[in-house]
Amino acid sequence: MHRHDDRRRPTRLRGMNAQLAHLRVRGNEAIGPYSLLHVERGQLDPGVPGQFFMLRTEPLLLPRPMSLCMARAGELGFLIDPTGKGTEALARLDPGDRITVFGPLGHGFPLDATDPVIVGGGIGIAPLPYLSESLRGAPALLGFRSDAHAVAGALLPNAEIVIDPVRVTEPLAEHLVSRPEATPLACGPEPMLAAVGRLASHAWLAHEAPMACGYGACFGCAVRIDGELKRLCVEGPTVLAGRLYVPDHDSSPLPSAVGVPA
């Protein structure tokens, strides 16, 4: 059973390799519609791919969760889709600006998964360059809404890219036909994750929820896991598909409590 794999990983929050640091922005690159924010690493541990950091800058009251995208020497790289007040503030940062970073937080992807295949959709590509590097270029499938968004696909040089109306689950289904033991490691919008979960209940999905703290303090990030509302920042953000999409509900409409409406 894959289901209990999740429980064996160390509780990083209790171990607290997470640290708070006040750092400087090194650069901010446009990658299609996204911003690749380069932050000096300070003493921070980059963590495991799929883990995240809480990023805060003026004038935000609360920090915003961001997956680590790249872990170049001395640097932390975050890929940001500017869709709201917080992500816009982060995407506007200039070199030299101050930023508060707390992490790494949560559970990353299992790097020992059997025959991993990386799956991403839209800004869900964010944690995948670091993941791909850690998995030494495992096969990767990426879906994007438009050619403009697909520019970010270049961050995963070996990836197969599809553009709307083709869905990334189409090449994934083919992949799973030829390699039924393959483990999808996926990040992307909720409908995509649900579709990946339907194809493979042993897939690992990097989920999203609004987060105020990222370290188990606020209970804001509740997501239905194992049929119960649990803190995504403590249980996830990577969760085994079977724990999110409980088999009995597989054919029913997606539970609306799961994930953030786009």
Partner: protein
């Protein structure tokens, strides 16, 4: 000494023990008689003056709390307060009775301001009285600022046997998604905490400090030592940190340092001295800062703080 606590529901000491280590007292999230999964997501939202939450008192229920969480908390936490809640005086009494036998519980905070329980004067005091009947532990009544006259509720709580006040809980607020103009929270409205609460909490502390002699844990929008010192000057003996912990898990240490510096800038050796002045006490020579601050000349005025007009 001025103690720094967390605000109930704003820290899980078992998930983040390093953060709890910075506190003098750890307060649990509110525990109710029965387990609660809490409200449906979305449960949090941010505006430019504060944040909303509608967690809905997610908790394991008093039985599982006592069996599964309390032993570990007892081991880790030097000073532990348990916050309890419910929908009737009996609910509160039930929780307090269940906790009464545990030596590790230093005080019980009665969350009579849970957004699902209205708390007019007699209800708050009925809750305190019911709790008083089943435990001899110190009871702190946590009040809402959304009361026409918070001071009279505080007095009623004092008469019913409260040993202190926690001021304040959140205000009811609403934030709409700017794109859809729909409420962001699944419950539509939620509890407003953070900066917007600051002047409101300060007024509540001030009013209750004048109306009762109960020690007060001040909270509401504290982000800096200056904010904490303002609560103390208004009459709080201790200060709790809520929303600030989410963005700054290092806040307990930082604010403790800033608080003492803020007192010293005003020529007082410690924040506790500012509190004694707020009570109208005269400071001894040792309580006056040895390095007189930039406004050491303000000392005589400080003593008037709690008198006001």
């Amino acid at each position: 000494m001025t103690r720094i606590l967390n605000a109930s529901g704003c820290l899980d000491a078992l998930a983040a023990p390093e953060v709890a280590d910075g506190l003098d007292v750890f307060v649990t999230k509110t525990v109710t008689p029965l387990p609660r999964t809490g409200n449906d997501p979305i449960r949090i939202a941010e505006s430019d003056v504060g944040m909303l939450n509608s967690i809905g008192l997610a908790n394991p229920g008093i039985e599982r709390f006592v069996a599964e969480y309390l032993p570990e908390l007892a081991e880790r936490i030097p000073s532990l307060w348990v916050s309890v809640g419910g929908f009737s005086a009996e609910d509160f009494a039930l929780c307090c009775a269940a906790l009464d036998g545990y030596a590790c519980v230093d005080a019980i905070e009665l969350n009579v301001s849970c957004p699902n329980v209205t708390a007019p004067a007699d209800e708050a005091s009925a809750i305190v009285a019911a709790a008083r009947g089943v435990t001899s532990k110190p009871l702190y009544a946590k009040l809402s600022p959304a009361l026409p006259d918070i001071a009279s509720v505080a007095q009623a709580a004092e008469q019913a046997g409260a040993r202190g006040l926690s001021l304040t809980n959140t205000l009811r607020g609403l934030i709409l998604d700017p794109a859809t103009l729909e409420p962001i929270l699944a419950t539509a409205t939620g509890g407003l905490s953070g900066p917007a609460l600051r002047p409101v909490a300060l007024a509540a502390v001030y009013a209750c400090a004048q109306a009762t002699s109960l020690p007060i844990v001040g909270m509401g929008g504290v982000e800096t030592g200056e904010h904490a010192l303002a609560l103390i000057a208004a009459g709080a003996s201790d200060v709790a940190l809520g929303t600030v912990l989410f963005g700054d898990p290092a806040a307990p240490h930082r604010i403790r340092t800033e608080l003492e510096e803020a007192a010293q800038r005003r020529g007082v050796a410690s924040a506790a001295g500012v509190f004694r002045m707020a009570l109208g006490d005269e400071l001894s020579a040792s309580e006056v800062s040895s390095k007189p601050g930039i406004r050491g000349d303000l000392l005589p005025e400080l003593t008037k703080v709690a008198v006001g007009s």
